[in-house]
């Protein structure tokens, strides 16, 4: 009983927060669609699901996510090999650089790709602007890092001996890869692919900025229905569909994440110098680097041009207020707002995430307890896949009225951002905590240390570094969060991603240049944070 009591006490806070700030808004938003004039009306929802446009949107979401996942895996595998099994100078820097795209604000990436592929851009001749190819490229840009990290971490700790035995039995390197390495890596690859598919299918900023009006995913369709067509029933129907699909995917990903018996002895090989046979992998890694760097470079170069000349005018415009309605607030103010919000979001997600990680990682005594813990684990991962638009709009609908009149609270935006960052924090901390040998805790207890003292002696030293890394992640993600924030930020206090989005859409001539400059500043800030995080050993990110 005592175990359940401690579990309940630790989990109570996070569950309450999630209930109020996640379950209630989502249910409220979805309920709006199902309940018409006080009666439950499922027929309307089913009608929406039968619409041809719905099918088109669904089909687009699925195939674009699938293609983006496939390309990410195909590019990520050789890069994972080159960066985690080979030793060459600059390896750690390249690994860190390839992690930066993941935390870049989606708006910034959208802008960068528009610049690269647009008529005036360097790749304008390919005519890819506004095509699905651009959207898929944008999605791959974000997610190749996830594949590299997750598969790379698994590859790094793979026992080399079966491969060596196979080679001695006559298997060429290609055969060893196909018959020994790939089957051993399959759980990591499938796990990474399912997470990438999830991210691609729920992507909002990329599809919004690159797809325009012609191409719509479920997420942007919900946005359209909610804000422009005011068809809440259709939006609710799509939200439910998305929630169901995401839950199914999370269940599958959770199963595949299960760790094999750790008591088997493993001999992990030291990374070796690249040999001639590794040429293809190194070349593909360089290709990935180029693909990732190109949009960012274009962005940087674009921000340094004003009126067809090189100048810093765009940066100077950052602290000016615009003539039209686009910029009510200088971009520099918006940056400060973003930073302040990110700080709040970070401590909130750390607090919640820390409690959740402790709850989820404790060893269970009975099967019922284990099932409870894994259910909680899955529950706290849900914000990962729910439409940010649903969340944001749900906030507006449910939290605006009493008894929860929270709309004017300055903590609303940080809370939404904290929820988005929460799964990342939990997934960074849980592997570290579960990896601790329980016998250390038992030894401490037998020497007379109480539960709190044991925690301080055993868990805290192991976890403070990943905690800092998680803090960095949460900060970077919050800085760039766009989906929920675009709904909730008050117009006098916008965050920088929101300002950038407004500037892109503005007809004013200098607005676009200013947007580029602001994007570069935001990208630099998130990149700096992520590089610092990687120095602290954010290795556990691979366990996503």
């Amino acid at each position: 009983m005592r175990r359940y009591a401690t579990l309940a006490a630790l989990a109570l806070g996070p569950v309450l927060v999630l209930a109020v700030f996640f379950v209630v808004p989502v249910v409220g938003m979805v309920g709006r669609g199902f309940v018409v004039d006080g009666r439950l009306d499922v027929g309307g929802v089913l009608e929406v699901l039968g619409r041809e446009r719905t099918h088109r949107v669904l089909w687009f979401t699925v195939w674009s996510a699938a293609v983006a996942t496939l390309v990410s895996v195909l590019l990520g595998l050789p890069a994972a090999y080159a960066l985690h099994r080979l030793a060459f100078p600059g390896r750690r820097l390249v690994r860190a650089l390839l992690l930066v795209p993941f935390v870049l604000p989606t708006v910034v990436v959208g802008v960068a790709f528009r610049l690269l592929l647009g008529e005036a851009g360097p790749l304008g001749g390919l005519g890819l602007d506004g095509t699905p190819v651009a959207i898929v490229a944008g999605l791959v840009f974000f997610n190749v890092a996830v594949v590299i990290r997750a598969v790379g971490a698994a590859w790094e700790s793979l026992d080399a001996r079966p491969g060596e035995a196979a080679a001695a039995l006559g298997a060429s390197p290609a055969q060893v890869f196909r018959t020994v390495t790939l089957p051993a890596l399959r759980p990591a690859i499938v796990s990474a692919a399912s997470v990438v598919f999830l991210f691609c299918a729920t992507s909002y900023g990329v599809v919004l900025t690159l797809g325009g009006l012609r191409y719509s995913s479920v997420e942007t369709e919900i946005y359209l229905l909610t804000t422009q067509l005011l068809d809440l029933r259709a939006a609710a129907a799509l939200s439910v569909l998305q929630l169901l699909a995401v839950t199914a995917l999370l269940v599958v990903a959770g199963r595949l994440r299960a760790v094999r018996d750790p008591t088997q002895s493993r001999r992990t090989p030291r990374p070796r110098r690249p040999r001639g046979t590794d040429g293809a992998q190194v070349a593909l890694t360089l290709l990935v680097l180029v693909l990732v760097a190109a949009p960012l470079l274009t962005l940087l170069l674009g921000s340094l041009r004003a009126d067809d000349a090189w100048s810093l005018d765009n940066y100077r415009a950052l602290d000016r207020v615009g003539q039209g309605s686009a910029l009510l607030v200088p971009a520099s103010d918006a940056l400060l707002t973003s930073l302040r919000t990110a700080v709040d979001a970070t401590w909130m997600s750390l607090l919640l995430g820390g409690l959740i990680a402790v709850v989820v990682s404790r060893r269970s005594a009975t099967r019922g307890e284990r099932r409870l813990r894994s259910t909680l684990d899955g529950f706290f991962m849900l914000p990962l896949g729910v439409s940010a638009v649903t969340l944001g709009f749900g906030f507006l609908l449910t939290l605006g009225r009493p008894p929860l009149a929270l709309l004017d609270s300055p903590l609303l935006v940080p809370v939404a951002q904290a929820l988005v960052a929460l799964p990342l924090v939990v997934r960074t901390l849980v592997p570290v905590l579960t990896g601790l040998d329980d016998r250390q805790r038992q030894a401490a207890a037998s020497l007379g240390a109480g539960p709190l003292r044991t925690f301080a002696t055993v868990d805290v030293p192991a976890v403070w570094r990943p905690l800092l890394a998680a803090a960095g992640f949460a900060f970077a993600v919050s800085l760039g969060e766009f989906g929920a924030t675009s709904f909730l930020a008050r117009s006098e206090h916008p965050t920088l991603p929101v300002v950038i989005f407004r500037l892109i859409g503005s007809p004013e001539p200098e607005a676009f240049g200013t947007a580029l400059a602001a994007s570069v500043v935001l990208a630099a800030a998130t990149a700096a944070v992520v590089l610092a995080v990687d120095r602290l050993g954010g290795r556990s990110f691979g366990a996503l």
């Binding site: 001996r161 080679a167 001695a168 006559g170 298997a171 018959t179 089957p183 001999r267």
Partner: protein, 325 residues
């Protein structure tokens, strides 16, 4: 069909692991490389397999230098102490792996034959994770022998097993290797394992081969005190003590059972400690003119500590070491 290792040196990042090793494994014979942990024996084996590049020297097969031959073309099968089975394949598919690579027909019959050879009939559909350590090593052995390799390389194949199983499997390994006529190079830190399985012995220490030859010759005449101790001799007596025990010798290595309790024995001393084991009684005796030595007594004659005893020496359990100290 001879494996030749000529003046081989291997280093990791500039740190030498093997220095100037020269060995030969004749056709159909088993050579054991014996040495403590960290002496470079595993590195030597990996260099022969083609997994580590040598920094100097040659590895030859029938006189042909293997420097340009990659691992998968050498025809040398490799067996580790554990963790080498393909976890996602059944026992039969593991054993048949090399056969399938070479697209051999009737591979199933050969797999059956091999499973019978290693005593695992009926295990064909089992998965490696469900097998015990000893069973996994048997499967690994069967897999190695499937395509009748030119040379079998064994990296401490029995270390991960418990003592009783180790003895049984060592004897079985010897039987199977001699029955198949396989040439083998085995690396181990356990001298019992080496003696059971091998015909020839090479002793390694700190990257160098300090002694080599047929196993009984090496055993009877170790090259220096450190080798003697590693081969299982309990002590090395020097100077006057050595001369007292073996007239004319400067250094004598003695086993724990070299001295035995004997009423008519020429050597006298006092018992310091007594320990009974299932086989015999083990004594530590302070011998006059020699010092502390180990001795044995039959189980029905247990002297008390402090008692005066007479000991006799069994010369076959001693070895005279060459050179002056």
């Amino acid at each position: 069909m001879v494996l030749g290792i000529e003046d081989l040196s291997v280093s990791y990042d500039g740190v030498p692991a093997v220095v100037g090793a020269s060995l030969q494994v004749p056709d159909g014979r088993v050579l054991a490389v014996l040495g403590p942990s960290g002496c470079g024996k595993s590195t030597l084996l990996r260099a022969v397999a083609g997994l580590e590049p040598p920094s100097a020297g040659r590895i030859t097969w029938d006189g042909t230098d293997l420097a340009r031959t990659p691992t998968h073309k050498r025809g040398f099968a490799l067996m580790f102490q554990d963790g080498q089975l393909f976890g996602h394949l059944s026992v039969a598919r593991n054993v048949g792996y090399a056969l399938r690579l070479r697209r051999v027909r009737d591979a199933d019959a050969r797999v059956e034959e091999l499973l019978a050879l290693v005593g695992l009939e009926g295990y064909a559909d089992r998965l490696p994770a469900t097998l015990s350590g000893g069973e996994r090593q048997r499967v690994a052995l069967a897999r190695c022998l499937a395509v009748r390799p030119r040379l079998l390389l064994l990296d401490e194949p029995l270390s991960a097993l418990d003592a009783g199983l180790r003895q049984r499997l060592a004897a079985d390994l010897r039987t199977i290797l001699t029955a198949e006529g396989t040439t083998a190079l085995m690396v181990t830190h356990d001298h019992d394992e080496a003696f059971t399985v091998a015909d020839h012995l090479a002793v390694m220490r700190a990257g160098h081969v300090v002694q080599k030859g047929p196993i009984d010759e090496v055993w009877r005449a170790p090259a220096d005190p450190a080798t003697a101790v590693f081969l299982g001799y309990a002590r090395v007596l020097e100077g006057a003590a050595a001369d007292r025990v073996h007239p004319g010798a400067a250094r004598v290595a003695v086993r724990r059972s070299a001295f035995r309790l004997d009423e008519t024995g020429p050597l006298t001393g006092t018992v310091t400690s007594v320990r009974t084991t299932p086989e015999q009684v083990r004594l530590v005796v302070d011998l006059d003119g020699v010092g502390e030595v180990d001795a044995v007594a039959p189980l029905d004659r247990v002297p008390a500590p402090g008692a005066g005893v007479r000991l006799a020496l069994d010369a076959t359990r001693t070895a005279v070491l060459p050179g002056t100290p």
